[in-house]
Symmetry: C2
Subunit: 211 residues, 2 copies
């Protein structure tokens, strides 16, 4: 059964907490987006963890250096997954993997901006990363790109990891994304841009569960 | 005259403010390190700006996506420089450059982890980036790497940009770094790891001014 990850992309603390509350019944993972964590800091991790003890909190740190040093406090504050950039040095990726394991948590290696995605995915998986993120960023989405070819590439490697897919997924693409091998589908604008985020999340939950 | 940038790498809010206070007389740029901004959030930018109105505040966001969206609030809060990863999509880099210009501020493109550093430096400079960062990360430093060969490469391009150099610079290397073309030298551990950070900063200031 695939999981749904809700990307909380607002900068505002209260709006983020309110959106999480609205969609929590329908999603598995609450993601604090990169701009949001930089804006709000670790107190948001603590607040979300306290408000949603049964949900998995992902902190989208996109770590590029100082892997263990940067990620450890976020695991200790309640984050169960943090992200590290596949573009980072493998020693940095390893630092996040080790910090995650020390905290009974998981590291996601985000392939955004990586040239040889298959090579990085293989090496990171071999080094213990639990999740590989196939990710078309917001700026690349604005230029018309999608994550689906990269998903086929990474799923085809048959690695012993969960594949997370992010990049403009909506109700028209979410089922085919799951069928193509995504264990985690990340949804942002399709929920927070809807008239009713809760209704949109409920609809996407039903689509994922039927996929 | 080269500038000295102090990297504030602690996670603790009060310790960061205290270190900034101790070294401010001897440095030009106060840098909020990447782990520090993720941990503390934008309130630290506002506090440092208020406490040091005559210093340049750099927020080491290491932006990888959503360039304008992520960087704009930090410029508005008083940051005069933010960093964007050279590994990011050029549309993301452009977003930070545009946001910087709209706020009478500067964008630094950080070459950490970039394979073809000369190509990215040339394109970013051509697109309006004011600072190119030659940067050996903390994890790579731990593996024995230094930024000096990359500095020679980038300085040799003769681009119309300021070159910033970071990566374990200390009193033994700071003058040769300036002489090799660095307009900004970033110092971290050589100051905060000293018995007296203020004395170390004063010594480095004298070395830079005599270089």
């Amino acid at each position: 059964m695939a999981q749904i990850q809700m990307a909380l992309d607002s900068l505002d603390f209260d709006a983020t907490m309110a959106l999480a509350e609205a969609v929590a019944p329908y999603v598995d993972i609450l993601e604090i987006g990169t701009p949001c964590i930089k804006y709000n800091g670790i107190k948001l991790v603590k607040a979300l963890t306290a408000a949603h003890p049964t949900k998995t909190i992902l902190v989208d740190l996109k770590t590029m250096d100082a892997g263990g040093y940067e990620s450890t406090p976020f695991f200790e504050a309640g984050g169960k997954i943090t992200t590290v950039l596949g573009a980072a040095d493998m020693s940095t990726i390893q630092g996040v993997i080790d910090a995650a394991k020390a905290n009974n948590a998981e590291a996601q290696v985000d392939l955004i901006g990586v040239e040889d995605k298959a090579a990085v995915a293989k090496e990171a998986a071999g080094n213990g990363a639990q999740i590989i993120g196939v990710h078309t960023g917001l700026d690349a989405q604005a230029a018309g790109q999608t994550p689906f070819a990269d998903l086929a590439l990474i799923a085809g490697l048959g690695l012993d990891v969960k594949i997370s897919v992010a990049g403009g997924i909506n109700k028209d693409t979410i089922q085919s994304t799951v069928q193509a091998g995504a264990a985690i589908v990340v949804v942002g604008a399709a929920i927070y841009g809807a008239d009713s985020p809760a209704d949109s999340a409920k609809e996407l939950r039903a689509l994922v569960d039927a996929a």
